[in-house]
């Protein structure tokens, strides 16, 4: 029997295939959306963190450069003696970096674990992934550094 079909419908297979395509497209769109939102949300915080690191390191560079003596009581604390005998204390902990000079304190918040180390006339700050920031002490480099 040959019946002409004017109102042709979709088969179950076609419907399932289209549903599968829609699902894949939906999942991809959701992932793209969530990743985009994450990037938009975290990028300013990341730039703020980098700016805080830059400000802290500029200040640390100045202190280390002119220091006449470098003491490292532990890997989270750095004590720098200035030519006028004042001592600047740098503390690196989970809450950020703190610089203390007499009763004045400066704090740069950053969730970046840093460890201080001394190598000759240099102070090395080690970050995660073995990133290193080196600070030269001119006074010790010129007058002969004692390890």
């Amino acid at each position: 029997m040959n019946i002409a079909r004017h109102n042709r419908a979709f088969t179950v297979t076609e419907m399932l295939f289209v549903l599968m395509l829609f699902s894949i497209a939906g999942v991809l769109a959701m992932r793209l959306f969530s990743t985009s939102m994450k990037v938009i949300r975290t990028a300013p915080a990341s730039q703020d963190r980098m700016a805080a690191i830059d400000r802290a390191t500029a200040s640390l560079r100045q202190d280390v450069w002119s220091a006449t003596k470098i003491d490292l009581p532990d890997s989270h604390t750095l004590v720098l003696s200035a030519p006028d005998q004042t001592q600047v204390r740098w503390q690196f902990d989970q809450n950020g970096v703190t610089r203390s000079l007499k009763d004045k304190e400066q704090h740069w918040p950053m969730s970046l674990p840093l460890l201080a180390e001394r190598r000759g006339s240099e102070v090395v700050l080690k970050g995660p992934d073995d990133d290193e920031l080196r600070f030269t002490c001119a006074m010790l480099a010129m007058n002969g550094a004692k390890p």
Binding site: M37, Q62, S66, A138, M139, M142
Partner: protein, 134 residues
């Protein structure tokens, strides 16, 4: 003719806008990070130049008579000279037992400076302080 709904188009355009903003933000962060890396390498080089300036100032004290206002430019290796680097030392102040130098190092558009104070002890000049501005 049946009017087609624009919901999917609107959704796609919104998604594109979000992705566009995300790419732009990521690009800005990457550019900032790249610029920081370049700045760091240049500042490390400038620190080395300042150290060289301090060493040369100490040598100059041993070998030549110095008076306030004297200045000299240190000859740098060709690799640095090609990068428009310069190292200039100026005698800022001088007294019987103290001398102050100002050292200016430049590399491309970055400049770093330091002030050196030497004190006369017995028969020799000794570096008393080295300060860099913030």
């Amino acid at each position: 003719m049946k009017r087609q709904g624009g919901f999917i188009l609107l959704l796609a355009l919104t998604m594109l806008a979000f992705v566009g903003v995300a790419i732009l933000t990521l690009g800005t962060t990457c550019a900032y990070d790249g610029r920081r890396t370049m700045d760091r390498s240049q500042h490390a080089q400038l620190d080395q130049l300042l150290l060289a300036g301090a060493t040369e100032a100490a040598d100059h004290l041993k070998n030549a008579a110095t008076s306030a206002g004297d200045w000299w430019e240190t000859e740098l290796p060709p690799a640095l000279a090609e990068q428009q680097a310069s190292l200039v030392t100026t005698v800022d102040a001088i007294s019987a037992d103290q001398i102050v130098f100002h050292v200016r190092a430049q590399l491309q558009n970055h400049v770093s400076e330091q002030t050196l104070r030497f004190k006369h002890t017995d028969r020799d000049w000794k570096l008393q302080s080295a300060e860099v501005p913030l």
